[in-house]
Each structure stands twice: as structure tokens, then as C-alpha cells.
């Protein structure tokens, strides 16, 4: 799993993952987001369009990052989850706090 980040505006970061979000990629995901929040970008957009698989460890990482972002006055939004990721979100009853957006532009809007 590889992560890349892109700064958007004054306070937003777009995090793009490529691969599987599981217990292997959970620590690097948290690290990438924590670094962005500490650098003054608490509005986090996670582009999941290239994440083909997520398990409960990956979901735990997303929720941890969401809480960190909110504590810093921002938020975390997800974009373009795959069918498998959407299935995990719905079965876990978290689609209310992690509502998918169709595009990065939409998610980054106020």
C-alpha cells in the first residue's frame, strides 16, 4: 500500500492510497494523516478510488484519523470507495460518519 499527499488550499490535504487498507497499511496511513494535521491541514480528504480492499483494521485507522482531524478543528471525508469498501462501511454501521463523496472537489468543498 502506498500513500501520496497533495495540499489543497490553506487547510486541506488529499491523501491517496493505492492498494489494500488492512493491518499492514494501518500504521503508515495514521502516520501520513497525523503528519498532515500537525502541519496545519486538519481537513483531510481520503481518495479511496485506488483502494480495492479494506478490512476492520483499515476502517479503525480511518476512524482514528477522523477523530484526530475533528479534534484539530477539521474533518475527514472519503471519496470513491470500491464496492468492497462500501460493503464494510455499511455492515459496520459507520456510513453515517464516513459518508462517501463522489469526487475530491466535492469532498474538499466547505
Amino acid at each position: 500500500m502506498e500513500f501520496s499527499t497533495e495540499s489543497l488550499g490553506d487547510d486541506t490535504v488529499v491523501v491517496r492510497g493505492d492498494g489494500r487498507l488492512n493491518m499492514v497499511s494501518d500504521p503508515p496511513m495514521r502516520e501520513v494523516v497525523t503528519r498532515a494535521i500537525e502541519a496545519g491541514r486538519p481537513r483531510v480528504v481520503v481518495d479511496l478510488s485506488r483502494v480495492q480492499f479494506m478490512d476492520s483494521s483499515g476502517l479503525g485507522a480511518l476512524i482514528s484519523c477522523l477523530k484526530s482531524a475533528r479534534e484539530a478543528g477539521g474533518d475527514l471525508r472519503i471519496v470513491s470507495p470500491s464496492a468492497q469498501v462500501s460493503m464494510v462501511l455499511k455492515l459496520s454501521n459507520v456510513d453515517t460518519i464516513l459518508t462517501p463523496f463522489a469526487s475530491v472537489e466535492e469532498a474538499a468543498r466547505e
Partner: protein, 141 residues
């Protein structure tokens, strides 16, 4: 359709759940008739199971696992045998934790995605079995 049974032996560390994903890719490649929803439901359940086994054994110097997956006309089944001590993982009906919880969803997800989840202690090994019937409907999402 002929029955296909494949096995994978891995130790963690250094192996991890990505080895299970890669193994399943070969199972899917050889069984193209398995539908997309069955595939993703079964893969999610199996990865949750393997992650639980690896995580619980992490403090005890690791674990060696033997995983076999069978795809036949009845559906998909897997057996995961591991060398960890008994009793590390408690299998009971689990409810999903609250939405802001960062853990505790693995077993509940497995139970939502497969028809059967079983545990036995055999010859100082933990034996986990999951199965998902081919004709099982999609869960109400």
C-alpha cells in the same frame, strides 16, 4: 465444475495478511465462476479471521498457519489451522461496536459475511473454519 482445493502455509512474522490476499487471487483466477459478491464477502471474512489470528499471536513470538480454501458447487469454504495457544480469540455472537470505536468489528463482520464460523482445538492447534453457500443472498445493506 470440479472441486478446487488450494493450500497456503505462512508464518507471521514475517508473513502477513497480504500473503492471504495474494493466495486468494490465485483461487479466484482458477474459479472464475465465483460471483463478485461471494468473492468479496468471503475474502473480507477470511482476512478478518487471519488478521485476528496474527494479531493475537503477535506477543507470543508469532504463529504458523496452514490455510486451505475450497471452491465447489456448494460454495466457498476455508480452514485455517494455527499454532497459537488456545483461547486467544473468543467466538461468540458479537455486536458491532459504536460508530466511533476503532476496533472490535472483526468477528461481527465475519458473522455477517459467512454462513458458518467454527472453532476446534485439535492436537494443540487451533482450527478455524468458515463457509459461505454459493446461493446465499446478498446481505441487506
Amino acid at each position: 465444475m470440479s472441486e478446487e482445493r488450494k493450500s497456503l502455509v505462512f508464518s507471521s512474522p514475517p508473513g502477513d495478511v497480504d500473503a492471504v490476499h495474494e493466495f486468494l487471487e490465485t483461487v479466484w483466477a482458477e474459479n472464475p465462476e465465483v460471483g463478485e459478491f461471494d468473492r468479496m464477502a468471503f475474502e473480507t471474512a477470511l482476512i478478518e479471521l487471519a488478521s485476528n489470528v496474527i494479531q493475537h499471536a503477535a506477543g507470543d513470538g508469532g504463529v504458523t498457519c496452514v490455510l486451505s480454501v475450497t471452491a465447489d458447487e456448494n460454495g466457498l469454504s476455508a480452514s485455517l489451522t494455527d499454532t497459537a495457544d488456545a483461547g486467544g480469540i473468543v467466538l461468540m455472537d458479537r455486536e458491532m461496536p459504536d460508530e466511533l470505536s476503532e476496533s472490535g468489528r472483526g468477528i461481527a463482520l465475519i458473522q455477517a459475511l459467512v454462513d458458518e464460523l467454527r472453532y476446534e482445538r485439535v492436537d494443540e492447534r487451533n482450527v478455524w473454519s468458515i463457509s459461505r453457500a454459493r446461493e446465499a443472498g446478498e446481505p441487506q445493506l
